[in-house]
Symmetry: C2
Subunit: 333 residues, 2 copies
């Protein structure tokens, strides 16, 4: 019995920020010893809503490689692979597509939301529409046992299981593996503007690649308590991004509790909180930033490792695709 396989991944559409760090990256680092970890840079899927901007997707592949390295993903332990280097994914997608329905995709809440976000109106690109099923092919390609997800995403794994089960049932086989979800509690990081989500397009993100100076500027802009005019006014800690970040990044939680108390009592200035927050975050992010700078000079090496892992995934996928062809009676020779 080898280690169980897990699959995670990202669309390369920009650099990664502290939302990614707390939401998934730190978890991946934790999991990479216990599991046989596969991390996909989904550049083909990134193109589905960025097909007019291929340069961005191209460049972001390298940004992700650096971000992964920076946070401590070990390219010799984790199989970081690039979707475009595994053409079998497309083939396996087509084989699975007979077991998904367009109605099922139409009812997918993520797709519904993203359709509105992308403003597709009356012309939804097919490439975008098929991506949830294309993702099932990703799972099949690596033969994932487990998919680390937050509660919200559990239904996506459930949909994948249904499609895989239907395929197996139709051809009276068990060659495809139904992945299970590995429920984690991804930490949600609000934007510096107080928005629920941090994102590039929202212009409210703190990037892993931000310099100390950029970090300071952003920390001093974080949304605090808008009703607090003077430092002697009692302030609210809930929904106050400075304190949310303190909760996420501070080591000494007693210190944070003390600051919260003083804030509520009107006994600490906003600027004092922010100065301390900057110090704490900078200390946390400093080693990541240093490793990221190091990674910038290692792009070729990181790419080489990712291409090697891609080849490995491609080989595993070829075996699976051939097994699928066999049960579909497509083996002729």
């Amino acid at each position: 019995m080898g280690k169980k396989r897990i699959l995670t991944g990202d669309r390369p559409t920009g650099r990664m920020h502290i939302g990614h760090l707390k939401g998934t990256l730190e978890n991946r680092v934790k999991l990479q010893d216990e599991y046989n970890s596969f991390i996909e840079i989904a550049n083909i899927q990134a193109l589905t809503d960025n097909y007019m901007n291929p340069q961005k997707v191209h460049d972001s592949v390298f940004e992700l490689l650096c971000d992964y390295y920076a946070v401590g993903i070990d390219f010799d332990k984790s199989n970081v692979f690039i979707q475009s280097e595994v053409p079998e994914i497309h083939e396996i997608f087509v084989y699975l597509a007979n077991f998904a329905t367009i109605q099922q995709i139409n009812h997918n809440p993520t797709i519904k939301t993203e359709m509105v976000q992308n403003n597709f109106g009356k012309s939804t690109p097919l490439g975008f529409f098929i991506y949830p099923i294309h993702q099932v092919a990703d799972l099949v390609c690596v033969g994932a046992d487990l998919v680390p997800v937050g509660k919200d995403q559990a239904p996506i794994v459930e949909d994948s299981r249904v499609i895989i089960r239907k395929f197996n049932k139709a051809y009276n086989t068990n060659i495809l593996h139904e992945p299970e979800y590995l429920l984690g509690v991804p930490k949600n990081v609000p934007g510096i503007d107080g928005g629920a989500k941090m994102g590039k397009s929202l212009n409210n993100a703190i990037y892993l690649s931000d310099t100390e100076e950029e970090l300071r500027k952003k920390v001093f802009k974080v949304y605090t308590d808008p009703n607090r005019i003077r430092a002697t006014d009692p302030g609210t800690v809930e929904g106050n991004v400075a304190f949310t970040y303190l909760d996420l990044f501070a080591i000494d939680m007693d210190e944070v509790e003390g600051m919260k108390k003083r804030y509520r009592e009107g006994n600490i200035k906003d600027v004092e909180v922010k100065e301390r927050l900057f110090e704490i975050m900078n200390e946390y992010l400093y080693p990541i930033r240093k490793r990221r700078e190091e990674a910038e000079g290692m792009k070729d090496e990181l790419l080489k490792k990712a291409l090697k892992s891609s080849k490995k995934v491609s080989e595993i996928s070829r075996v699976t695709a051939d097994k699928m062809k066999k049960v579909m009676k497509l083996d002729l020779a």
Copy 2:
């Protein structure tokens, strides 16, 4: 300047009948000298509405090989290839999918009709839904210059041109070739029951593989003039399948005109018309039947040639897919 490339093909879902013969097969034989002909056995597409019956699709691949050989398709001139042996088709499909919309597919009249025929109701398999765009990938794979079609199908080629043009425009390139249609006048062959279309599921087809005895039985069942009770009643030739078949298969058209005149005058028995029709059709189909019997013993050889052509198409497709990847900035190494 080499010969222009044409692409035709069939879904392997059964043996071929005289509807195929007059609709497309004879035309392909005619075109195979003048053009660089590619003939696709679309077994992956056949599975989209036969995914629960893979054995039928598998066996039909061999039926088509025999039917092609029987009608005179020269496997050394025409590139008979098998879709499942060209995985690049799926990859190219995914690259094109960003330039097609689901609304466009929903408005495709063929898809609309087939959805009803297939009785999909509220669960349309994604595999079926995507096939019109998957067909565009077929065209791109062989780099088709021309697609032989009847008038009805010209819009399908036009749709393909639009998708290909959008791809080229998005990436400021001309790597993909917009195929044009080669308008033919495919002869429509009604079913023996007088139905507009001949088809396996309609149980009204005369197969190329039918024995002389089967042919005779079917010819004697053809729909004639239902209002003609006695041989002395004046009969109607229009919509009379016996005379439609005579028009399609007779060499001596004067003889046919004479028979039509006598039929209209009530001067020839139905049975006499049918007897002569049988003779004429049997003479026409005899050499095809003989070659088909010969082909049955050559299945391995025919498959080998088809696999060789498939490899060739796969290689051409790989080059195209790599060019596409390059303009999409997916080339990383």
